[in-house]
């Protein structure tokens, strides 16, 4: 009851004109920044930090919270429309969102993504408002071995996108992990695979790889095929979403939201593993799992709801314990510190109005996201009507800018273009690129958690299995791998039995 009363006060403060406008502006900035590949909402949050000096602490948090919520969804707009994920967490949106665009269902795909994201985000914001404390206690039990196990679970989910080619997909993922090892090692400070090139010592950023593999290869295909990406004409205005669509995705949204809330609350896990794991689980759980990758609504809805469900959940450890679990929440922590506010249990006692205004703002932001998302998506949808040649030219320039913007380094542009050529070759030869990108994103995290776990636990590798949470997650990863491989194993076993029968006959 006390929480409800405080939340009511929070809503009152958040609906004050100044505060409300701050959320709206933040949301728009985040959605646009998220939709532009390479810019990323985290960069937008970092660039917005100086502007928060002139705001009150609460306003600063509302502004950054708006960017965060909008940005996490925004990345899917470009993923669905041009097959270029605006953020790493939007990678799964390419797998089933873009095929819908290719079928002329871009507006329906966006509507599904938006609905799923808003639902996930809203549930997560409610979780933040009512169950922050117990979730924070659970998150505190995670240490390096548990993070390693969670990352392994994320990597294993690559089997879900393997399309009956688990070996090729695993090789692709391992190549991605190997690419992620280029540069100075995080524990020993020794350069690896730099081949005497100084710029290689800084490593290969996953954003650069992602832009190259997806954007460049896609524009080459656009040029070579004269593909028509214009949205199919529909009678309805706005985003076309029927009640039957909502019914179709309800299970996927629920599962995705649950996974996102669970993973989001763990510092360091974040939206990307959440979205990828949700996709993998949904592929197994859905009756249309075999069709995933061809534009299946559930395959789009599950990761979308999961990634936005991590937004509110990621703020649980930030506000309750003062622990930022991601780059975005670290910037929010910085903003709070700049204003002399120390997040943690004391904040709930000292300034509950501020805390509950943030909670209310997260709920409002997720509801407003539907409006902001429709606006930005309509704008991008209009862009899709431009001739493919023009669209492709600007995608290339934006990709180059995105790669350059990562570290303001021309070397990254060269790496991006090299991966563009590699991505095109991979596409033409049928070698999967999505597992490679996943490897580049999660590989460095897995290595860091693995090496620091061993360093912290006297090089005892059994720690991954003997610690209860880590052991359970690794067991889940094993079950997940077997679950994913089971249909293929059944087919192979059937084939062997048939051959034996034929030779015996």
């Amino acid at each position: 009851m006390d929480s409800l009363h405080l939340l009511g006060t929070g809503f009152q403060s958040a609906f004050a004109l100044g505060a409300f406008l701050t959320i709206v502006v933040g949301l728009l900035v985040g959605t646009i920044a998220g939709a532009l590949p390479g810019i990323s909402f985290v960069n937008a949050m970092a660039m917005s930090l100086p502007f928060t000096y002139v705001m009150t602490p609460t306003q600063a948090m509302l502004f950054l919270g708006g960017i965060y919520v909008g940005g996490v969804f925004g990345g899917s707009i470009s993923a669905i429309m041009i097959n270029v994920p605006g953020t790493p967490a939007s990678l799964p949106a390419c797998w089933d969102g873009y095929p819908m665009t290719q079928r002329g269902e871009v507006r329906r795909a966006l509507a599904i993504a938006l609905t799923a994201s808003a639902t996930g985000g809203l549930c997560s914001a409610l979780l933040l408002a009512f169950a922050a404390a117990p979730f924070a206690t659970f998150a505190l039990k995670f240490s390096q071995p548990e993070f390693f196990a969670a990352t392994v679970l994320g990597l294993i989910s690559v089997l879900a996108i393997a399309k009956d080619r688990p070996v090729v997909s695993l090789i692709s993922m391992l190549v991605g992990i190997a690419i992620g090892t280029v540069g100075v090692d995080p524990l020993y400070g020794i350069s690896r695979f730099s081949f005497g090139i100084p710029a290689m010592q800084s490593g290969i950023d996953f954003v650069v790889v992602m832009i190259g593999l997806f954007a460049i290869s896609e524009v080459i295909d656009l040029l070579a095929t004269d593909r028509d990406l214009r949205p199919r004409k529909t009678a309805a205005r706005g985003l076309p979403l029927r009640l039957s669509d909502l019914w179709l995705i309800k299970g996927a949204v629920l599962r995705g939201t649950g996974i996102g809330c669970m993973l989001g609350v763990i510092p360091g896990a974040g939206a990307t593993p959440g979205a990828v794991i949700a996709y993998g689980v949904e592929k197994q759980a859905s009756a249309r799992g075999a069709e995933f990758g061809t534009g299946v609504e559930q395959g789009l809805a599950a990761p979308e709801s999961a990634k936005n469900a991590t937004t509110g959940a990621a703020m649980v450890p930030l506000l309750t314990l003062g622990i930022p679990g991601s780059a975005a929440t670290a910037i929010m922590l910085a903003a709070m510190m700049l204003h002399g506010v120390s997040p943690g249990p004391l904040l709930f006692l000292m300034d509950p109005t501020m805390v509950y205004t943030i909670f209310a703002a997260m709920i409002i932001a997720n509801l407003l996201m539907i409006v902001a998302g429709i606006g930005v998506a309509q704008f991008f949808s209009t862009l899709m009507r431009t001739p493919p040649a023009v669209l492709a030219a600007f995608i290339v320039v934006l990709s180059v800018l995105g790669a350059y913007g990562v570290r303001n380094n021309i070397f990254d542009v060269y790496v991006c273009l090299a991966f563009g050529v590699i991505g095109w070759v991979m596409k033409r030869t049928g070698f999967p690129s999505a597992p490679l990108v996943l490897g580049v994103i999660l590989g460095p995290l897995a290595e860091r958690y693995f090496m620091t776990s061993l360093a912290n636990f006297h090089q005892d590798w059994t720690v991954f299995f003997t610690r209860p949470i880590s052991g359970v997650i690794l067991a889940l990863a094993l079950c997940f791998a077997l679950w994913s491989l089971w249909p293929g194993m059944k087919v192979a076993a059937g084939g062997i039995a048939r051959r034996r029968g034929a030779s015996a006959g």
């Binding site: 290719q102 090789i171 020993y188 695979f193 081949f195 295909d221 290339v396 934006l398």
Partner: protein
Amino acid sequence: MSGEARAAGAGSGTALARRLAAPAGFLVAALVLPFFMLDGAHAPRGVGLGPAAWPQAMLALIAVGAVIWLLQELLAWRRGRASLTAAAAAEPAGETYSYGKAAGGLVMIIVYGALLPIIGFPLATAIFIALWCFLGGLRRLVVVVPLALLGTVVLLWVFMGVALMPLSRGQGVFDQLSIAILQLVGIY
């Protein structure tokens, strides 16, 4: 020969070499790359697994995977089945693919990247947009030229003006030209 077997190109030595090229390439790379991992620097001994352990483990797994892939390809070839990657590489129905245009596009993108630090972002981008549109079939100069110029100005405004990205201005005379362009559009 069945359709599947024809797709597999069973019986042809070239087809077999082609389908084994990728796994063999990965195998060779995984076996050779460990020798080029650390340049000159020596890994600290006696302290944990060392910096080479993780990448070496990944390369070893790639090698194992590549061997399995090789065996699978050989088995599929013997049975007259298509390559593991052939189905994924198949063209979408009703779509013709112009490899000439694709090659032209790849060359243009690489040249654009190479020219960026030499002639600067404003000039390289305007030329690139115009040429790409031309290659893509948009050949009306009254459309292409204003599109390239306006597009470049908008990009300059967003990325150099608002986001303050220090994009390349080029070298020598191109640096002066870029500064003049930036002054003209009001960014400098």
